[in-house]
């Protein structure tokens, strides 16, 4: 959206370009033109940075929460192969290789417990149930407290009739053990199902048919196959 007719001098043109940069409306040609001007006059960089900072603060008054499901979609999207600089890709590969020995013990379970279908990560059916829950208009979100993971949340949709546990960097459990999710009622704990994190500490499991109502949820480590009642103190709970 250039407006050559409005410029009468190079100073005016620079002002136009700086305004368009703050508006996010530079064309590619204008962007190159501004880059050249920034090289020619180093003081312009401060002008541009100040304008962008002020524009960002102005736009900050419009802050608004997206749907809870967007975070899940974003985290899935960054897992897909994406183009990035060689330098960044190599640095991330190096970091990932450091964690592989630790993560090797973490396998993914695929279990059916007490009539509740527990679907493992990455399963096509799992994706369908997860999507049905996270996209539901009646989605309820219950973050877990505890040190099991920094980010661990249960999502429940009455309409979808399923509960999803979504976690990042969840600590691996030893071979022969599993995490067990419980519904904690007045008469005791009722098992919802079992899960394990994947090699990256990711948990994304769906429990079709689970209905937590208003009751809190808890997670314990149990022997592989699960327990009828919790045998250890919960590592994470919802309120």
């Amino acid at each position: 959206m250039s407006d050559p007719g409005s410029t009468s001098s190079s100073g005016d043109r620079i002002d136009d370009l700086l305004a368009l940069a703050a508006l996010g409306e530079l064309t590619e040609a204008e962007e190159r033109e501004l880059d050249a001007a920034l090289v020619a006059d180093v003081t312009l960089q401060d002008e541009l940075d100040s304008d962008l900072d002020t524009a960002a603060r102005l736009q900050g008054v419009n802050a608004e929460s997206p749907s809870p499901g967007l975070k899940h979609r974003v985290m899935e999207a960054i897992d897909a192969p994406v183009a990035m600089s060689d330098e960044l890709g190599e640095r991330r590969d190096r970091r990932r290789s450091r964690w592989l020995p630790l993560a090797a013990a973490a396998a993914v379970a695929f279990l059916a417990v007490a009539g509740i279908v527990l679907v493992r990560n990455g399963d096509a059916n799992d994706d369908d149930v997860v999507a049905a829950v996270l996209e539901a208009s009646d989605l309820q979100e219950r973050p877990f407290d505890g040190e099991l993971a920094v980010s661990l949340t249960a999502f429940y949709s009455p309409a979808a009739g399923a509960l999803v546990v979504d976690g990042l960097d969840v600590e691996p459990v030893d071979e022969g053990e599993t995490y067990q999710l419980w519904l904690v009622g007045e008469s005791g704990a009722e098992s919802i199902g079992l899960f394990r994190p994947d090699d990256d500490g990711r948990v994304l499991v769906a429990f079709a048919g689970a209905d937590p109502g208003d009751l809190p949820l808890g997670i314990t480590v149990e022997p592989a196959g699960g327990s009828e009642q919790p045998t250890q103190e919960p590592l994470a709970t919802t309120t």
Binding site: G5, S6, L23, D51, L52, R57, G60, A63, M84
Partner: protein, 188 residues
């Protein structure tokens, strides 16, 4: 809002490919980014789609972020605005629409104040904007509070494009002097 040091640490971890750190950055910035995009695009579903693209860009381009030049939130908002405007341009091109950016307000009956997070920062910003001369205030509000492109502003106010750009620059310069440095600024 995370402190400068926490943000700096998060950025380093994201550069290393730490997904947990990225999730924390998402938590800090998602309302800001989504708000900017939605104000431009209006459509919630399209706004979420573009917000997702923006966070993927943040993930893949975090190495380009220079904390000596901008805060992380400024960098993210700059990307958000550009991406949202690009999407409008593409949509308009595809549909050959005459309607300019921002004119969808006719079907969006919500007021400017709806969905606005009531914070001290927002109050400071609004106070500063209110103190601008009328001609600059009008353009600044349309551009950055309502999310209109400069072509739509020119059309709406009946003034030349160059005048809009001049008032944007003048308004931003004046606001720079009135807004305190962002105290909770992340990253620098």
């Amino acid at each position: 809002m995370a402190s400068k040091i926490e943000f700096s640490s998060l950025v380093e971890r994201v550069i290393d490919g730490d997904r947990q750190a990225f999730a924390e950055i998402y938590d800090e910035l998602s309302t800001l980014v989504f708000g900017v995009v939605k104000r431009v695009l209006r459509d919630p579903a399209m706004s979420e789609e573009v917000t997702q693209e923006i966070f993927v860009e943040i993930w893949t381009s975090i190495g380009k972020f220079d904390p000596t030049r901008a805060s992380l939130s400024t960098w993210a908002v700059t990307i958000a605005r550009r991406r949202a405007v690009d999407r409008v341009r593409r949509e308009q091109s595809q549909r050959n629409r005459i309607e300019a950016l921002g004119h969808q307000r006719d079907v969006d009956e919500r007021g400017v104040d709806d969905d606005v997070v009531a914070t001290a920062e927002a109050d400071r910003v609004r106070l500063a904007v209110a103190s601008l001369p009328d001609d600059q205030r009008e353009v600044i509000e349309l551009a950055f509070i309502e999310g209109c492109a400069h072509g739509a502003i020119a059309e709406r106010l009946g003034i030349p494009l160059g005048t809009v750009k001049g008032r944007v620059r003048g308004g931003l310069k004046r606001l720079r002097g009135q807004l305190e440095p962002s105290g909770s600024a992340d990253g620098r």
